[in-house]
């Protein structure tokens, strides 16, 4: 496609091109490749953002979900400006792991994080992120380097040896990584200095209950209104919506919302069938509006197996862009089934968006299972 050709970035190079918005607001859905479109002269400023790449199919800007196998199933990654909905598995084990991979990927790429939860303090969530997996040979040399003094020369040495770029530097600074999508070691924690070097905002629902509201009572629950205001505030103040053209370095905002729809947010759709049926869907709609007009991507985990009113699940699916369902075998009769003995659960790709296109990337394989080995979370076609 013309867009990919004019971008011309190879597989290993940094980031991608995104056309900065001119008169209009920045939307991540603007066509890349100014020479291809040729209509708007304000497309001429091209900015590359770490941790992103253009989609091969339609030039859409993509970020990694933190799991390269999932990126491949979703057509290359998660499109900036869209919502990825993860339907939680029954005990929220694997979905919270995917959530952490998403946030860890943001830290490695230097993206700004916005973590929202009603159950755990975001600071605690960040402490438990998995460590990035390093190449073993490279790690040995890195240890040797650590003995020497960190001076400007060692910086230059790292620049020449491009392979080392994916290692975190010892001094506090964002890790510049040229790879798209990293592997994480679930048994180790992310180094403290990386977490401290990253920029993040936390929203812990019980803490914010005393803030004043300047919105008339609409059918949204309290928790959702506060979260929307918080997100909109961050987007506006840090210029993710292009409202501050003076900001020299554009960045992506990764929003992670955990257990949305659970009773801890004040929503009762998981408790009763006739609950407030519009609160969650309205929230998703306004959230999507915020995302489409800013450089951000959002991952939401939702306990859909608890929602009593099935109509809400189909509405929520229609309001999200990408929907992935996790089904773990723990506690079910499949755990002892010899067919599934190698796997921990099934993964269902329920919906993939058609963005700027009539067609979309859909993998032929529909029967997918995942397993969590000692370090890696792998997704593969289920073999009999």
């Amino acid at each position: 496609m013309a867009a990919a050709a004019t971008c011309g970035t190879g597989a290993g190079s940094t980031g991608s091109m995104v056309a900065a918005g001119g008169k209009n607001n920045v939307t991540s859905f603007q066509r890349r490749g100014p020479r291809a479109s040729g209509s708007d002269s304000s497309y001429s400023r091209l900015v590359s953002i770490a941790g992103t790449r253009p989609s091969v199919r339609n030039g859409q800007l993509l970020v990694s979900t933190g799991l390269p196998a999932l990126d491949q199933l979703l057509g290359g990654g998660l499109a900036v400006g869209t919502v990825l909905l993860i339907e939680e598995d029954k005990y929220n084990i694997y979905s919270s792991l995917l959530f952490k991979y998403f946030l860890a990927e943001g830290i490695i790429n230097g993206h700004t994080l916005l973590v929202a939860s009603a159950k755990e303090d975001p600071a605690d969530i960040l402490q438990e992120l998995p460590a990035p997996l390093l190449d073993d040979n490279v790690k040995k040399d890195f240890d040797e380097d650590a003995c020497n003094h960190k001076t400007a020369e060692s910086n230059i040495k790292m620049k020449i040896a491009w392979r080392y770029q994916l290692l975190p530097k010892m001094e506090a600074g964002p890790v510049s990584s040229s790879r798209f999508g990293h592997y994480y070691d679930a048994s180790k924690k992310m180094p403290q200095e990386l977490i401290e070097a990253s920029k993040w905002h936390g929203f812990f629902s019980p803490e914010k209950s005393s803030s004043t509201l300047n919105i008339e009572p609409c059918s949204l629950t309290h928790g959702y209104i506060k979260l929307l205001q918080f997100i909109q505030n961050i987007i506006y103040e840090e210029g993710f919506d292009g409202s501050n053209p003076q900001k020299k370095q554009k960045n992506i905002l990764r929003i992670g919302i955990q257990n949305l729809g659970s009773p801890l947010w004040g929503d009762d759709i998981c408790c009763t069938e006739n609950g407030n049926s519009h609160s969650l869907t309205k929230f998703l709609y306004v959230l999507r509006g915020l995302l489409r007009t800013s450089l951000s991507a959002c991952m939401i985990t939702m306990p859909t197996h608890l929602i009593q009113n099935k109509a809400i699940i189909s509405r929520v699916t229609n309001l999200s862009d990408t929907v992935v369902g996790l089904e773990s075998f723990i506690g079910s009769e499949r755990e002892t089934n010899p067919l599934y003995k190698d796997y921990h659960g099934l993964i269902h790709i329920r919906q993939i968006p058609r963005l700027n296109n009539l067609i979309y990337d859909v993998s032929d394989v529909k029967d997918l299972a995942f397993k969590l080995k000692k370090k890696l979370f792998t997704i593969e076609k289920r073999v009999e």
């Binding site: 859905f29 309205k282 306004v286 859909v362």
Partner: protein, 266 residues
Amino acid sequence: MFPELNNLLNTTPDRAEQGKLTLLCDANTDGSFLVHHFLSFYLKANCKVCFVALIQSFSHYNIVGQKLGVSLTVARECGQLVFLEGLKSSVDVFFRAQAEPHPLQFLREANAENLQPLYEFVREALKPVDDGEAAWRCPVLLVDDLSVLLSLGMGAVAVLDFIHYCRATVCWERKGNIVALVHDSGDTEDEENNILLNGLSHQSHLILRAEGLPTGFCRDVHGQLRILWRTPSQPTTQRDRSLTYQYKIQDRSVSFFAKGMSPAVL
């Protein structure tokens, strides 16, 4: 617009009918390609189009429209297209109190009774130009999609009332057309959606229903399209005509073929 679909529907942009309500419906699949078809069809037919786009952004429709041969930016600038971008406006409405009534006013209200502000917006957008020269052929209202209004707190009856008012103004008074997309939720018991779908099916002149294949996913056949011509105002002395085709969506067009006659199979 897809030339093969024009052939199936027996229309061309020059001979577009007037005063019709077309219902687009999708079940277990994505029917948005039909919306793109009708949008480019009516723009090419030189009609004035009011597009209430609640589900995707303007640039999405614009980029697909360019593949189909229409430019939405040009149409918007010269006044042929009035575009209500739901996602962007919802952010404005929700976070800032508006001075004048906004078409998406119901987002701020706890119990919005009806969609009157939205109807006023449509009526204003498709007002006939008074300077004597008939610039555009007929007004067209395109809605993508109506099921989202249910998710945003409106009842099925309120949405049906809105369509009724729009029909009275656009179809009957100004001899224009309405095209609306509604999702069919299938076996999930979404009663409000079923009420809306049934109510609209009875009022429509033409129903296009895109269904996923009952046997599941197939790479060469993406789904099945059922076309139903109806005459809602007259008693059914003649049977409604119905046709079924299977289709495959490609990058710039959609190809249709009779059931079982996919080129991949033959």
